[in-house]
Symmetry: C2
Subunit: 529 residues, 2 copies
């Protein structure tokens, strides 16, 4: 399939500006194929005006139609076959096996949201029946449900070219909620983005969706800001850096009418290895940790960038195993030059910090020309860590800093000093958990997900998942960007007071034709009234 | 009972600064009694440090203890008896009967949240059981629930000296969620605030709450901003003006770590009177509307400041009845001089707008020295309304602007031009609803609550209530400040992955000891696993 390099606005294409973004293969450092046209302000405007004009028709569709659209996107993505995977591989250097897995997850997410929409309970119906005879005043009949917010701007993430990019979780959950979506393609995989966007648009046409339900624009920072500032935009989804996310957050809140920004900006995902676990199975934990640190060349939001242990005789072999595994890990190509450079700067900063020692000595040195990086583990003591704020900053890539604590109190002090995190992990025995109950209580206030005897990479997509956490992990700790609850970001409640049956949305009518769960006078039920 | 005029910080009192706020009786315009000490920056800091230090102990209490605290606050408020009501009457000029009703509502809200906490399902438990044998990778056991955010700053509202002030809905819902609260007292009823705060602190001491669970400070704008900017503050509740709410919103979002601000900033609450209803019972609607416009001297957030009707022969008697009722309404004292002056400016602006005509001629003119206001109704045509943005701005007080539309299309255009609203009301027959289906769809995108054949004043406190709406009605349309769902503003989800039973919060343990509703593998149940 031939790429065209244009912006996809409604059902048309547009390339009003000559300025372009090249596709670059990070494994060679070379640009290849056609370039991609940066959207103009007028193109941004057109995409969002079309989204707004599609909103009413789209949100009014029967839920089965919306679900069919999502299912069809999954099909069209699969239909692209190797074309999509190979292009993503060329643009990101992620291995084909990983990309195949990521496509599977992307397709599953779309189907999961199709099912969420079809099942229907996500709108959180609450019904409090009226009491016309109540004294001193009658109680009205009140029925409340979630409705979609309006056009949503989604920023494709660099590290998951499918699952968090154009057809990813933000797009799927916003479309599921009934919101048209305008995506800004990530400049590091523009061809993959075009392919995915075309699959979405084929699905939209095939299932009769209104024009404007989906558009995709190419661009850099200014394009993104223009999309966030556009008055028709009602919410923003983003996964990326703290600086990038904060810039969008600020722009959205400085608008005349502020809008929510769901920015997932990563974290250092501390892993606490408690003494009982360290003694019982330190080597196994070290091996698992090395795999988690290097998974996807360390380019996961949940990458464990910080490990905390007690100064114990079992810690020395733990560090040795970890250092050995990471030293032996073959250098690998990162997503793009900018990420590789930032990683290099982060490693240098650690190397130059007094009291911090590098424990890894790579068997094979990385080749910067191939955008490669080596894995690394550093050690420091708790006092140095607590006194050096820069050591709490994320180094995006395959490295971790191990903090050696002199006492359980110091360990808790390290936990207390942490910023907001997506995850916090504890390796322990049942006895450890009893001894370190205070640590768990601290970590609850720091992270969105607490993991016991596991590793933070690998985020299950389900109802109970929480992928989010206190700032700066995200800009809105009340929400998740993974799992079925992600749909709630793009909706708000509306209450209907004393409405006649026929004027109520079907979800709130007595008959409960869809058989959804509803909170009826305080009890959850699928029954009709 | 003697007032002391000091700030209430933890279980102590403090008056570090000489500068004070006087108590003023709006019905006489005169200051009376002791003055109230404006908090210093150090006092703000102390209150929030204490709140932070109380947070862990408070959130860890058994839910029964937290519920007992809320119930005890209700008791202590009642125990204050006429002292509280008379002080509130002196400071606000609201009639004793109204204040008695408002106290009843305040007490009911506290008891409702006690019951919400005791029942326990509000934490929205979601459990997805693990699948250890799943291929290619085991599925972890994931359990998610809401936990409190941390110290919350609440701004007492001027228009409800009890139900939305110190012991009001924001305080009750934040305390219910497990968050310590620091209130900034509204400067227009400082004595009422002190009495209510002392009742809360008696309840806290009597039920063994940690010091710092509640504090109250006096102050003006700078004090409020310092409280919002304090690094320990995790969320803000506010009811008041657009300018005030926006200033707090901006301050909160410019913090190094931004925090959510739930500001309810009022609206003009449009009332659409459709032709069938107008013909069938125009006079009755006019009478009800006149009562709604003048309720509480028009000082309700849901006051109907805009009425929309079709140019029909039934409209003339409707306007006449409305004008007559409002002209005959006795002038009444508003809450304080500042509100009265703003109302005066709003009325003048309407009087001076070309194309706008005042229909009321008050029988008894208001006396500005007694902070009095007359009710008023103005008329204009749809084109003037659509072309004059200032006509969409709230005039806080007992007035409404009636927009006469030439056609159903013009009526829908007026709806489309509206800003975000707390409520929108439709008076209609079943036929009207069918003919104006498009209007309902537009209003859904504009308001948090849609009322059929009723009036917006009177907000039921229950599970299905939605008191909130798109900006500028509130800063967060995804939330409500009235009803049980208000508690959700002060909590965020945490997910526990593969935790052993004994390390899980009781709400997520297999046994479900509290018998709460949990979403277990996609189905709501009160059963144990």
């Amino acid at each position: 399939m031939e790429l065209h390099g244009q912006n996809l606005i409604g059902y048309g294409t547009s390339a009003a500006r000559g300025e372009t973004i090249p596709a670059v293969n990070p494994a060679t450092g070379a640009a290849f194929g056609i370039p991609f046209h940066i959207a103009t302000t007028e193109e941004v405007d057109r995409a969002l005006e079309l989204a707004e004009s599609a909103f009413f028709a789209y949100r009014s569709l029967p839920v089965a139609d919306r679900a069919a659209f999502l299912d069809r996107i999954a099909e069209e993505l699969l239909e692209l076959g190797d074309t999509l995977l190979e292009r993503a591989h060329q643009e990101t250097a992620l291995p084909l096996a990983r990309l195949t897995g990521e496509r599977g997850r992307t397709v599953s997410q779309l189907r999961m949201f199709a099912e969420v929409v079809r099942e229907g309970s996500w709108i959180q119906a609450r019904i409090d029946r009226g009491q016309p005879d109540r004294q001193p005043a009658p109680r009205p009949d009140l029925r409340r449900m979630l409705i979609p917010l309006g056009p949503v701007v989604v920023f494709g993430a660099g590290n998951f070219p499918l699952a968090f990019s154009v057809p990813g979780g933000d797009t799927a959950s916003a479309l599921a909620a009934g919101c048209p979506v305008v995506v800004k393609a990530h400049p590091a995989h523009p061809g993959t983005s075009e392919l995915a966007a075309r699959a979405i648009l084929w699905a939209a046409e095939a299932t009769g969706m209104p024009e404007g339900v989906f558009s995709m624009l190419h661009g850099l920072k200014e394009t993104g800001l223009a999309m966030v500032r556009h008055p028709k935009t009602q919410a923003v989804g983003f996964t990326g850096s703290l600086i990038g996310g904060r810039a969008l957050f600020d722009a959205a809140h400085q608008r005349e009418k502020p809008i929510p920004v769901y920015a997932e900006m990563g974290s250092i995902n501390p892993v606490f290895v408690l003494p009982g676990a360290l003694r019982a199975r330190g080597e196994k934990i070290a091996e698992g940790l090395a795999l988690s640190v290097t998974q996807g060349v360390g380019q996961f939001c949940t990458n464990p960038g910080l490990t905390i242990g007690l100064n114990d005789q079992a810690l020395t072999p733990f560090i040795e195993t970890l250092a050995e595994r990471l030293s032996q890990t073959a250098p690998a190509t990162m997503l793009y030059a900018g990420i590789r450079e930032a990683y290099g700067r982060g490693i240098e900063r650690l190397q130059q910090t007094e009291g911090v020692k590098q424990q890894t000595h790579p068997t094979t040195p990385a080749d910067p020309a191939l955008t490669q990086a080596n894995a690394a583990i550093f050690t420091t003591d708790a006092q140095t860590f607590l006194q050096t704020h820069a050591l709490s900053e994320e180094v995006f890539g395959p490295s971790s800093l191990l903090v050696v604590c002199g006492s359980p109190e110091e360990m808790e002090a390290v936990a207390n000093g942490l910023e907001g995190q997506l995850t916090a992990t504890i390796h322990g025995t049942p006895e450890d958990l009893r001894d370190y109950r205070g640590l768990v209580a601290v970590l609850e206030t720091k992270a969105g997900r607490l993991i016991f005897n596991g590793f933070p990479t690998g985020v299950e997509v389900c109802a109970a998942m929480q992928h989010g956490g206190p700032y700066p992990a995200t800009t809105d700790s009340r929400t998740t960007s993974v799992g079925t609850a992600a749909i709630l970001r793009f909706a708000r409640p509306v209450c209907y007071q004393d409405f006649p049956q026929e004027a109520l949305p079907v979800e709130l009518q007595d008959a409960n034709a869809h058989g959804i769960w509803r909170l009826l006078d305080g009890e959850w039920t699928r029954q009709a009234l």
